[in-house]
Symmetry: C2
Subunit: 254 residues, 2 copies
């Protein structure tokens, strides 16, 4: 079966403009152009559009979608399975939101009280999944699917107190690291304290701690510019300093 723009747009429930735009940015090219210059779409394009709309539904940017679907290593079946997983996560997030609405209704009826933080529960989770959509692919490629999944899962499952604790811990790691950096010595007491705090912090995201993994993450902070940017924001060199401190802490050195 072949489709012109309008036919396809009606089938997929999108506008013809959207199809022209997707052609323009090279995310979905028609199978061929007929003698009158009309765009003609075939079976392959139908399937690709389906993939695109799936990702769009998740809030992934078209640029990222383009990278995904036009990548030579793109595995459609694998993408679908990952996609399914994300839809399930989104549904869980929705459940949290619904629970939140229920709670808010109860609140408005004067039956319970809610902290300000609780009021935004469910939105918080959205940050996690956005992060996933943005960086998920690369991180997954480098560090394995299960690690990322389990990490996200733990964050989503955190209680409010746990979430507050991990946030506090994160600030303490940064502060201690800041102070330790002045000693300019990764083996210093302060630097080792920072490494230990960092281990504690990690354990909020990981099921099992190993020295090797800890050292690996510290190395990642230096290798991955996004993490480097995060740690070096206050003081350039902090990421590398943390890595060195962790290498001493774990006793791993090459």
């Amino acid at each position: 079966m072949e489709y012109t723009v309008q036919k396809l747009s009606q089938l997929a429930g999108i506008s013809t403009r959207t199809l022209r735009y997707y052609d323009e940015i090279g995310i979905l090219k028609p199978a061929r152009i007929n003698s009158s210059g009309y765009r003609i779409y075939g079976q392959t394009e139908i399937n690709q559009l389906q993939q695109i709309l799936f990702y769009r539904e998740l809030g992934v940017s078209l640029e990222t979608i383009k990278d995904l679907v036009t990548s030579p290593s793109f595995d459609g079946a694998k993408a679908l399975r990952e996609h399914r997983q994300k839809l399930l996560e989104k549904r869980e997030q929705l459940d949290v939101l619904i629970a939140n609405v229920d709670k808010t209704i109860a609140l408005s009826e004067g039956r319970i009280t809610m902290t300000d933080k609780e009021k935004f529960k469910g939105f918080k989770q959205k940050l996690v999944s956005n992060n996933e959509a943005q960086y998920g692919k690369e991180i997954r490629e480098n560090y394995g699917d299960e690690t990322v999944d389990r990490s996200n899962q733990k964050v989503l499952g955190m209680s409010q107190e746990q979430y507050e604790e991990v946030t506090r811990l994160e600030a303490e790691v940064l502060q201690t690291l800041q102070d330790a950096f002045k000693t300019d010595d990764p083996t210093s007491e302060l630097a080792q304290k920072a490494a230990d705090l960092h281990r504690q912090w990690l354990c909020y995201y990981w099921d099992s701690y190993t020295k090797e993994a800890h050292a690996g993450v510290a190395q990642m902070y230096v290798d991955d510019e996004r993490f480097t940017a995060y740690y070096d924001a206050k003081q350039p060199g902090i990421a590398a300093f943390l890595r060195d401190a962790v290498l001493v802490y774990t006793g791993i050195k090459e």
Copy 2:
């Protein structure tokens, strides 16, 4: 508890720019401006922001949200209950999408086949909920909540064949109406056939048919410019002609 822009932005998981923008468009004004010109938010604003983010989550435009939350007749508790309902609907839509992904995976493994139409199932439903967000409020006000809810419910619950049938029927109504219009006589056989087709079409959306309700809807087509625009698109006067034909058909005339 009082919050500055950054404090509130961190609490809610949004940017400070977003808060400035919401102030700018008058959707969320700070409780007060302190002596240095800083925006200070209080409890009322927290709750209002929560409402705003709830609606934003549903894909409602900020303009519509503004109308909703700044309306003098705005009933927060009622809004929350409606909101809860829509979240439930969204979750059902997600379930359809997930089922669709499952089917697509099975397809890619060669276990089943899928029609092109099926491939976009789940996206279709999105149109329904968008419509809801756009027109839902007004229509609900004029024609009652239950009617709208049940109508949407029926559409969402339709099988593919039913959906195709109702689409075909809709086209037939329009065509017959077109032809009947030329007779310029609402009592003509063609006009009455159009009214009958229209009744059949309606029954796809309604649980129970009554002549009064049918006549009411026909009148609405003339009163509500959006429906008038839809029917009169091909031929001005069609909406009024349909109303007259239905009035004859139902035997209701004042």
